[in-house]
């Protein structure tokens, strides 16, 4: 029995069951959700182990061979994404126990939480274009609702704006699927890949690609498509912010882009330099623009939101570089940013939980009162900044290595120089929340469950940093190779041994 469908089936079942369980007990719901996300984590690890043996596991839904049925194409990159998703989901879920205690309608939260998990898992492992769209919509709609979960004015506003922009992207994606279907008459990614190589790089090809890039850029919140993110991510409850910033936009925007660009459309720097330069350009613009905006923020979470936009730029730059190091760096960065930004949003959650405000001018002196939170923040921030030996450093390292290797020294200089912006804005929070002297009377430590969740991520940040060599060998490298295989993907999907039994 293959475990591949379980990745999305388990959270789906949980989501469907939670409304029933929710009537019984609130804590039970949390326990179920946490256990499920932990099971997912274990499964994800198992999935990594699976992909070490075969480079591609094709799972045929309903036993229909591709391109007839929907297949799940589970390769190293998917496995990697699944792992990252499960990590963030788990920590967020654990964190939620006390945090969501503030909110009404808790079981709805966990339902949506599981749904968004299922959606992301689905995107990460599916091998079918339309299926991808469906999962994307599941995840997206859940996220819209989660953003507005507090139903305060700002949250609703943020959610609405997010939804408008997100749906523009989603519908553009759908339109592109329609056109692509009209041309290729198939929806299976591998099949599309086969077909499209016979089309050649016609204007049609580029139009479709442009539309997809447009759609995914909105989802990934790259400048100038980013404007929803600084509204939406801070508005959501902290674990959700952590999830959204940590992994959501990467699955919806980055993973999809990478998968389609590399594996389906078979582009690489050699045959489509312009396209890759666009990626780099958008990436750099994101880094700089959002970084500068973040400098000017006075809201804990909003600053982090801008930071996310800025960091996504690095990932895009990494993919835009397009060689092994660049892509590996980008993938590494996905992990690094997921852990780091997830952690940062969790710290924002515990700060908000205890103080009730996110205004940087009002917060002060929490460094001693909430030392676990403060140190978690530091680890997360330093990882994002790229301070060795934390994971963010190695991610950045490979991106820069790739840039230099590709002969793009200017890019390396700019990209790495802009990390100073990251440092500047993250220091702003560190200073005004944790280090500045001030009177925040009677602040207690963050609740135990929150601290556990944060420490979990801190440990991961440290471990992944220290063990980066292992990660490169077993996780990142294979994932990068999976992408860099290009259109070989199609042969693997059609020809590889499938693990159905």
């Amino acid at each position: 029995m293959s475990i591949i469908p379980l990745y999305f089936a388990i959270p789906l079942i949980t989501a469907f069951a939670i409304p029933l369980l929710g009537k019984i007990s609130k804590t039970l719901v949390w326990i179920v959700a946490t256990v499920v996300s932990f099971v997912l984590f274990i499964l994800a690890l198992y999935g990594i182990a699976l992909t070490q043996e075969t480079s591609m596991i094709v799972y045929r839904m309903g036993n229909w061979p591709p391109p007839l049925g929907i297949v799940m194409a589970f390769d190293s990159f998917s496995a990697f994404m699944v792992l990252v998703i499960s990590i963030i989901v788990f920590s967020g879920c654990f964190f939620s126990l006390r945090y969501i205690g503030h909110f009404t309608g808790q079981w709805k939260f966990y339902t949506l939480y599981m749904l968004i998990t299922a959606g992301m898992m689905g995107i990460a492992i599916t091998g079918d274009l339309f299926n991808m769209f469906v999962f994307l919509e599941i995840a997206a709609i859940s996220s819209y609702c989660l953003v507005a979960f507090g139903v305060d004015a700002e949250e609703l506003e943020a959610s609405f704006k997010y939804m408008v922009m997100g749906e523009i992207g989603g519908l553009t994606f759908l339109l592109a699927i329609a056109l692509l279907y009209a041309k290729t008459s198939t929806l299976n990614l591998a099949d599309i890949s086969n077909t499209i190589s016979s089309i050649g790089m016609t204007p049609f090809f580029w139009t479709i690609l442009g539309m997809l890039l447009f759609a995914f850029s909105i989802k990934a919140a790259l400048v100038p498509f980013h404007t929803w993110l600084p509204d939406a991510h801070p508005a959501a409850p902290a674990p959700v912010s952590s999830l959204l910033s940590g992994i959501f936009i990467k699955v919806l925007g980055i993973y999809t882009t990478a998968r389609i660009v590399f594996n389906i459309f078979g582009l690489n720097r050699a045959n489509a330099p312009v396209f890759f330069n666009i990626l780099i350009g958008i990436g750099l613009l994101s880094i700089a623009w959002a970084g500068l905006s973040a400098l000017n923020q006075k809201d804990y979470k909003r600053l982090l939101g801008y930071s996310t936009v800025s960091q996504i730029g690095y990932i895009m730059v990494g993919f835009g570089i397009g060689n092994y190091y660049g892509v590996a760096g980008a993938i590494f960065y996905i992990l690094a940013h997921a852990l780091g930004k997830g952690l940062l949003f969790l710290t924002s959650g515990s700060v908000v939980h205890r103080t009730g405000t996110r205004d940087l001018d009002k917060l002060a002196g929490l460094g001693e009162a909430m030392s676990t939170t403060a140190w978690s923040y530091r680890f997360g921030a330093l990882s994002l900044i790229g301070l060795p030996p934390l994971v963010g450093f190695f991610a950045k390292l490979f991106i820069v290595l790739g840039a230099i290797k590709a002969g793009l020294l200017w890019l390396a200089i700019i990209a790495i120089g802009l990390s100073v912006l990251t440092l500047s804005y993250l220091l702003k929070i560190e200073n005004s929340v944790f280090m500045k002297k001030g009177k925040m009377a009677d602040i207690k430590k963050a609740p135990f469950s929150m601290r556990i969740a944060m420490v979990f991520l801190v440990i991961l940040v440290l471990l992944t940093g220290l063990g980066f060599q292992t990660l490169m060998d077993f996780l990142i490298g294979p994932a990068a190779n999976a992408l860099l295989r290009g259109v070989e993907y199609a042969q693997l999907v059609f020809g590889s041994f499938s693990l159905n039994f």
Binding site: E137, A148, S159, F160, E167, I168, L171
Partner: protein, 112 residues
């Protein structure tokens, strides 16, 4: 081909509504229009001249059907559209309650 272009026109009208209209309901209507246009385009793509709807009435009849796949996809898309519209409306409703207006230009607490 012209008929496809019409769909695109509908798409652009929907976008137009989103970008120029300041009323939330109009924006949602714009989305609905876009969804229609895309669904329609899908359905039109799968059409074959002179073919029948893909429903087998006799076991061994001639298989001259229109493409069933776009229909299946559109079915899904319609439902998704319904879901998004419902959520959007719910948000709009709550926004109206909070802001007492549908004017998007006045709903800008979040900026900077």
């Amino acid at each position: 081909m012209t008929i496809f272009v019409f769909c695109i026109a509908l798409f652009l009208i929907g976008l137009y509504a989103i970008v120029t209209k300041r009323n939330l309901i109009k924006i949602i209507i714009g989305f609905a229009l876009i969804e229609y246009s895309v669904n329609l385009l899908f359905a039109l793509i799968g059409f074959r001249r002179g073919a029948l709807a893909p429903i087998i009435t006799k076991v061994h009849s001639a298989h001259n059907f229109v493409d069933p796949i776009p229909q299946a996809l559109v079915l899904t898309a319609i439902v998704i559209a319904l879901g998004t519209t419902a959520v959007m409306l719910a948000i709009a409703l709550r926004i109206y309650e909070r802001y007492k207006t549908f004017d998007i230009a006045k709903i800008k607490k979040l900026k900077g």
